[in-house]
């Protein structure tokens, strides 16, 4: 797979440590694709290059803005926004949790509104503006919600955190962070299996009460 580097960010550092694991996953995916696809795809697979497998299927052009940067892509209609962000744009901050819209780990903003990227077909995002966790900070300066999550220990393992933070920012923007009860209701689409909920609520309340622009 072609490795594009559209954004610089914390993830670039992680790439070094994670490269062996990620390559393994990509290779496993390739093997699965070979096992499942007949005919033309098998011929493409003979070259042992996964781009060729993908090219054996019909691709469509997709233009969207991701974190302020225009992206002109070629995607299969069945690719989800989540997979395109992670696999084609290397924006691996957005996490794949359940992959079925039940956990919220994949939450991103589309034209300013939070959605589950795992249930969104990328091809339907033509002309849209996407913001992921990588696009939230202002250069090296973290977004107030990112600062608050660190200060209040709003995570343990951290896997749900990008989705939690994207949802938390939207929660305040929507005007649904006026009480602990309301925050809990409007954050219910983001599951934290470590159970960091009280600290997440505290982080959101601090940002809300601080009146900072989110």
């Amino acid at each position: 797979m072609e490795s594009k580097k559209p954004c610089t960010g914390p993830d670039e550092d992680l790439d070094v440590k994670d490269s062996s694991r990620r390559n393994f996953l990509k290779q496993s995916t390739l093997l699965t694709a070979v096992a499942l696809t007949p005919g033309t795809a098998m011929k493409a697979a003979a070259g042992h290059v996964d781009e060729q497998i993908a090219a054996a299927f019909e691709k469509m052009p997709l233009k969207m803005q991701v974190n302020g940067r225009q992206q002109n892509l070629s995607v299969e209609p069945r690719s989800t926004l989540l997979d395109i962000l992670r696999e084609q744009l290397d924006l691996t901050g957005t996490k794949k949790g359940c992959d079925h819209g039940q956990c919220g780990a994949c939450t991103v903003h589309v034209d300013g509104h939070r959605i589950n990227s795992c249930l969104t077909l990328g091809i339907m995002m033509n002309g849209k503006k996407i913001t992921t966790i990588e696009g939230l900070a202002n250069g090296d300066k973290l977004h107030p919600m990112q600062e608050a999550f660190i200060k209040h220990d709003g995570f343990q393992c951290g896997y749900c955190t990008p989705g939690q933070i994207m949802s938390a920012v939207a929660c305040i923007r929507e005007g649904h962070a006026n009480s602990e009860h309301e925050i809990r209701e409007y954050m219910s689409g983001n599951i934290c299996r470590c159970g960091a909920y009280p600290n997440i609520v505290n982080a959101i309340q601090e940002v809300k009460d601080g009146g900072m622009a989110v």
Binding site: F57, E58, M60, E76, P77, R78, T80, D99, H100, G101, G104, T107, H113, R114, I115, N116, L119, T120, L121, I123, M124, S167, A170, C171, E174, H176, R184, E185, Y186, S188, G189, N190
Partner: protein, 326 residues
């Protein structure tokens, strides 16, 4: 996910032309369809994206409140006209799914989400709805979430929508476009009971398109309530839900509407219970009596027998909230 072709027609006519073909399926928000396609439960050859159609409008017409089929669940739930005229609808919508999903899901798509259960999702299990004739895994299986009304030996799945329960109570009309023009269908007739064809959830023909819903004016805004009982406080399907709408004049009930969710293959209107309330004082005793009437004909299947007690209690409680007794 199986490969499919993707088209995004610019006009309603082009959508109608495209959806009539075998293997075609409309996509709007995709929250249910994409999920089912990922699991291999549904596998259309072609997706027809209707998001280019101008069907997002929410407005007052001579017939009442009109809501376009592509209006988002989140937008409808926060809309001022809806809050003023049909607060029950906003309340039901806000209790459904998660904020992220409500930002994707449309009114038409909410209606078209599949009536379903775990066996429908699990492609290794029998399911008459997924593959007609294979049997019903739930009937003798895990059926805690399942129907107590209107089921057939073929299927005991329930329709999970909250929005649809409110629209059934509010006597909404579904506006449907087809090649021969528009037709109007009472909301309570839109969804089907399973009978011998559980693979069919509703009465929309393959070559038709929902363009909107209309809610006729009513006097329920002051005394209506949506009560949803679920395993966790938020973001879960209803075990039982009740939409209650009353028109109360000097303590007497002039008009009543009731429907239950989580108990049937379609939004389940409680016509006998409604009739029993008209002309009576709005008291807990009368509400409990109506709830008992509503339960006539209920049948449980083992795992869901708790619903036989939970449902009438929820009806009574929802009516108390609607009448301001709580």
């Amino acid at each position: 996910m199986k490969q499919f072709q993707y088209v995004k027609p610019a006009t309603q006519q082009a959508v109608l032309d495209a959806v009539g073909k075998p293997g075609s399926k409309i996509i709007a928000g995709g929250t249910n369809l994409v999920d089912l396609m990922k699991r291999g439960v549904m596998a259309p050859d072609k997706l027809v994206d209707i998001n280019q159609l101008p069907l997002k409008n929410i407005g007052i017409t001579k017939n009442g409140l009109h809501i376009g089929a592509l209006a988002l669940n989140s937008v409808v739930s926060e809309n001022n006209l809806v809050a003023q005229n049909q607060p029950l609808l906003a309340m039901a919508l806000k209790s459904g799914a998660s904020p992220q999903l409500r930002n994707m899901a449309t009114v038409g798509g909410n209606m078209m989400q599949r009536t379903r259960c775990g066996y429908f999702y699990d492609t290794t299990m029998p399911c008459n709805k997924r593959v007609p004739g294979t049997g019903c895994g739930a009937m003798e299986g895990i059926n805690r979430m399942h129907a107590i009304f209107g089921a057939s030996p073929q299927c005991i799945a329930v329709h999970p929508s909250d929005m649809c329960i409110a629209l059934a109570v509010l006597d909404a009309i579904v506006i449907i476009a087809g090649k021969k023009g528009e037709r109007r269908l009472p909301f309570t007739e839109f969804h089907r009971l399973p009978g011998d064809h559980p693979e069919l959830d509703n009465r929309l023909a393959k070559d038709e398109l929902i363009v909107g819903v209309e809610i006729p004016d009513n006097n329920f805004a002051k005394s209506s309530y949506y009560l949803k009982i679920r395993d966790r406080q938020s973001y879960a399907f209803a075990l039982v839900s009740v939409a209650a709408a009353l028109e109360i004049d000097n303590g007497l009930i002039k008009n009543a509407r009731l429907a239950m969710g989580g108990v049937a293959h379609k939004p389940w209107r409680l016509f006998d219970a409604e009739k029993s309330l008209v002309g009576k004082p709005a008291t807990e005793e009368n509400f409990a009596h109506a709830a008992q009437l509503a339960m006539q004909g209920a049948i449980s299947h083992g795992g869901n027998s708790f619903k036989l007690k939970l449902a009438p209690a929820t009806i009574t409680e929802a009516l108390k909230h609607a009448a301001g007794l709580v």
